[in-house]
Subunit: 328 residues, 3 copies
C-alpha cells in the first residue's frame, strides 16, 4: 500500500548538474546532463531518483535499491556497486536536506496555512457535521457521515474518510485518514518532525516531506502529537488505539491492533509490529524494531529491538519474568 | 456524597426479558417479567438494578450488594447467594457493555456536541465573565463570580460552582465542578475513558456513563486530560492541586489536599488517599490503592498498593530509604 | 542581560512600616519610615529592595547582596550581617508571598485577560501575518515578518521579535520572545508556576511575578507548557530546541544550543548549561544544576547536580558507562 503524497509540490525538470550545484559538489568524472526525478530512500527510490547511503546499517537496502544515483561518504563509497553513480560528500544528511529543499521549495515552511475557508461549502461536504469556527484548507476531502468539531483546523489536501469523528481544537495537516477513525480533542497531527542539524547559534532545519497515514478504525487520544515523516511516512496501523497525551515522532510506524496507553512516547523511525500492547508512560527509543504481539509494561524504557511475542518491562526493558524476579 | 448524573438519558420501563434478549441469553428458569431500573456496580446498585460479579476480588462487595440480579461467569456463579437471580454468561464485561448501551442509548456517541450557544445569554449568567468565542451547551450552570476563558467549550448539563476560573481553550463535558476551582488553559475534562474490548480489525467500544466530579478549591493544570468514569465517577478531591500535563484515566479517585506535579499519569480505577504528594512524571498503575499521607518520588512507577504514610520512590516504587540506599 | 518586566504593576511609595503591617510583624527596634522599592531575590536586589534568606544554601548570595532589608528565620538570623536590617519571621516564604502580593496587587489574578482586540490593527502590525480569530492584548509588540496562527491568544505587553512564527491555538502571556523563534501549535507559555503553600481545605496561592524569556532562534514544540518565574524568570537560551509535550516549571533556566526531546519535564528552579542534550521522557528534579555539554539519556531521572561534559542515563541518572555495564 503506497499512498500518494499530494502535500508538497515537487520541482520538475531537475538535472543532476542543478543538484550538484546546490551542494557545491565539484566532480567532472560523470555526466551531469541527466534528469533526476526525486530524492528518495533506498527502498522506494526508482532508477531516476537520487538516493543516499550514510550508514552500513542500510547495506541490505543498498543491495536492492533501484536508484542509480547514490550520495554517500568517503568511507562508505567503496561499498556502492560500480553500476551506480556515486556522489561522495562529507555530510550525507546535510546534502540530502539541501537537495530535498531544492526539490520541494515549500518544504521548510511550517507556518500555519493562510489559505483557509471559514465555515464550509455545503455542496462539497453534504453529510459532514461541522462545529463552530472550523477552518478548512483547499481541497480537503471528507467522507460521508463524518464530523469535525469546534475550532478544528484541517489544512489543504488532507483526506478524511467516511464515518470519521474529529474532535474540537484538533489540528491536522499533511495527513491521510482512513474510515471510521476517531481523532479526539486537542490532537495535533502532521507537524514536521523534530529533525534538524545542530549548529552553534542557529540550527539548520531539515525539510520534512513525509505524511502521516492513519488507517481504518484507529482512535487517536486527546492532546496527542503525531509528527509527519521526513522522507518516508509516519503510519498508525488499522484498528490501533492511542490513549491521551501520546507522542509519536517522525517516521514511526505502528502496526495493526495495537493498544498504546496514556503518555507513551516514541522517538523517531521505530517500527512497531501488530497486536502490540504498551503500558502508560513507556518510552520507545528511536530506530528500533518491536515485533508482533509484544507486551511492554507501563513505565518501561525500550532501548533495543524486541522479538515477536516477548513480554518486557523495566528501564531498560527486559523480560518481564526477570523484571519481577529482580524486584521482589 | 452521591451526586446525580444528568448527562446520560436512561431508558425507562426496561424489563428483564428485554435485557436478556440484548445479550442473547436463553434461560427459562427464572421470571423475566420484572422491571429493571438501571445497571450499576455492586456497591451502589439498588434492589431493582442489575449488577455484575466478574472477579473474586469483589467478593466483599457481592456480600453487601442490594442488587437482586447479578451477571456472572460459570466459574463464579456458585458464589452468588441463592436469594439472587444469576445471569451466567461467557464474558461479563461484554454483556455489561451491551446492557449499558441499551439503558443509555446515546452513551457510545462521543462526538462533539452540536447543540451549543455561541456567545452567552446574559440573563442566565449575570456575574460570569466570558471570553471570546465561548461555546456553551444547553442547561449549563455557572455560579457567581466565575470566569470562562476564550475559545472554551462547555457541553450541556455541566455544572460549575461559584468563584471558578476556567482558562482558555478548555473543553469540559459530563462534569460537575465545585466552588473556587481553577481549570487552566488547554485542559480536556470529561472525555470517555480509554476502555474497549480489543478485537481484531475493529475494537468494540465500551459505553462510559460516569462523570468527572471536581470538588471545591481544586486546581487543574494546563493541558491536563481527565477522563470520565465508565459506570462510577472520576473524582478529584477537595483542595487537590494538579500541575500541567497530568493524565487521569477513568474511574480514578483522588482524595483531599493532594499535590500532583507535572506529567504524572494515573491508569484506570486507582484510588488515591488524602494528603498524597506525587513528584513529576510518576506513574500509578490501574486498580491500585494508595493510602493517606503517602509521598511518591518523581519518576516513580507505582505497581502495587501503598499503605498510609509510606514514602516511596523508584521503578517499581519501594520504600524511599531502600531506594536511596540501593542507589548510593 | 536583564530584561525589564512590564507585566506586573508595582505599588509605589511603600514604606517599611506598611510592609511590616502586612505580615503582622511587631518590632520596634528599627526605623520603619523608610521607603522600600521592591521585593527581590538576594542576587538582584538593590539597597532599597527587600530580600529574604530562608536557607543556608544561599549563604554566598547573602554575602554579596546589596539589599539592606532581609527577611529570615530565627535560626538563620545570626548569619545576617549587622549592617543589614533583619526581619525575623516564622515562615519566610509565606511572608514573601504576602509582601509580593502587596507590591504587585494583580499578581494573584491568573484569569484569562479580558482586554483584548479581536482581529488586528493593521497599522501597528504591517508585516505580520495573522490567522483567523487571533486575540491580542494591549500593547503587544510583534516584529517584522512574523506570523501568528489561528485562535492564538497573546496577552498584553508580550513582546515578539522579528521573523517569529507562532502556531495555532497557542497561548502566550508575561513573555518576551526574541527573533527567529518558532512556537508550535498548542503551546502554553507564561502561566503562573505550580507554587503555593499547602494548607488543609484551601491552599494559599503564591504570586508569580516573573516572566518567561525566550531568546533568539529557539523552537518550542507542540503542546509544551512553560511556566513563568515566581520572582526570577524562566529562560530558554539562544538556539535551544524543544520537542513536543515538554514541560518546564517556573524559574527553570535552560542554556544555549540545548536539544530537549519529547515529553521531557523540568521541576522548578533548575539551571541547565549550554549544549545540553536530553533524551525523550527524561525528568530533571527541582533546584539542580546541570553543567555544559551534558548528555542525558532518554527516560532518565536526574536527581542530583551533573558536572560539565558528563553523559548520564538511568533512574536515578548515573554515568552512562556504569548504566550500560549494570544493565548488560
Amino acid at each position: 500500500m503506497k499512498e500518494k503524497n499530494f502535500f508538497f509540490k515537487r520541482r520538475k525538470n531537475v538535472y543532476l548538474r542543478d543538484i550538484l550545484k546546490k551542494i557545491n559538489f565539484e566532480n567532472k568524472i560523470f555526466s551531469k546532463n541527466i534528469l533526476i526525478n526525486d530524492i528518495q530512500n533506498l527502498d522506494v527510490a526508482k532508477k531516476n531518483d537520487l538516493s543516499f547511503f550514510h550508514s552500513s546499517k542500510y547495506i541490505n537496502l543498498l543491495k536492492k535499491t533501484k536508484s542509480n544515483f547514490i550520495i554517500t561518504t568517503p568511507t562508505l563509497s567503496s561499498i556502492i556497486p560500480k553500476s551506480k553513480t556515486k556522489i561522495v560528500v562529507k555530510n550525507v544528511l546535510v546534502s540530502v536536506a539541501k537537495i530535498t529543499e531544492f526539490f520541494y521549495p515549500s518544504s521548510l515552511n511550517d507556518q500555519f496555512e493562510k489559505n483557509y475557508v471559514i465555515g464550509t461549502n455545503k455542496k462539497n461536504y453534504k453529510s459532514v457535521n461541522f462545529g463552530s469556527n472550523v477552518l478548512l484548507g483547499n481541497n480537503v476531502k471528507i467522507g460521508k457521515n463524518s464530523s469535525i468539531g469546534h475550532n478544528t483546523i484541517i489544512e489543504s489536501n488532507v483526506v478524511i474518510g467516511n464515518n470519521c469523528h474529529i474532535g474540537s481544537n484538533v489540528i491536522i495537516k499533511k495527513t491521510l485518514v482512513g474510515n471510521n477513525v476517531s481523532i479526539l480533542d486537542g490532537a495535533i497531527i502532521g507537524k514536521k518532525g523534530f529533525g534538524f542539524f545542530p549548529s552553534r547559534n542557529k540550527n539548520i532545519k531539515y525539510p520534512h516531506i513525509g505524511m502521516v497515514i492513519i488507517r481504518d478504525n484507529v482512535e487517536i487520544g486527546c492532546n496527542n502529537t503525531i509528527d509527519r515523516g521526513s522522507l518516508s511516512n509516519t503510519v498508525i496501523g488499522k484498528n490501533s488505539f492511542l490513549d491521551n497525551q501520546v507522542h509519536i515522532a517522525h517516521n514511526v510506524q505502528i502496526g495493526k491492533n495495537c493498544i498504546i496507553t496514556g503518555q507513551v512516547g516514541f522517538a523517531g523511525s521505530s517500527r512497531i509490529g501488530n497486536n502490540v500492547m504498551i503500558g502508560g508512560q513507556a518510552g520507545i527509543s528511536g530506530h528500533l524494531k518491536v515485533g508482533d504481539n509484544v507486551k511492554i509494561g507501563g513505565g518501561s524504557g525500550v532501548i533495543k529491538n524486541i522479538p515477536d511475542n516477548a513480554k518486557v518491562m523495566g528501564y531498560p526493558a527486559k523480560d518481564i519474568k526477570k523484571f519481577i524476579l529482580e524486584n521482589k
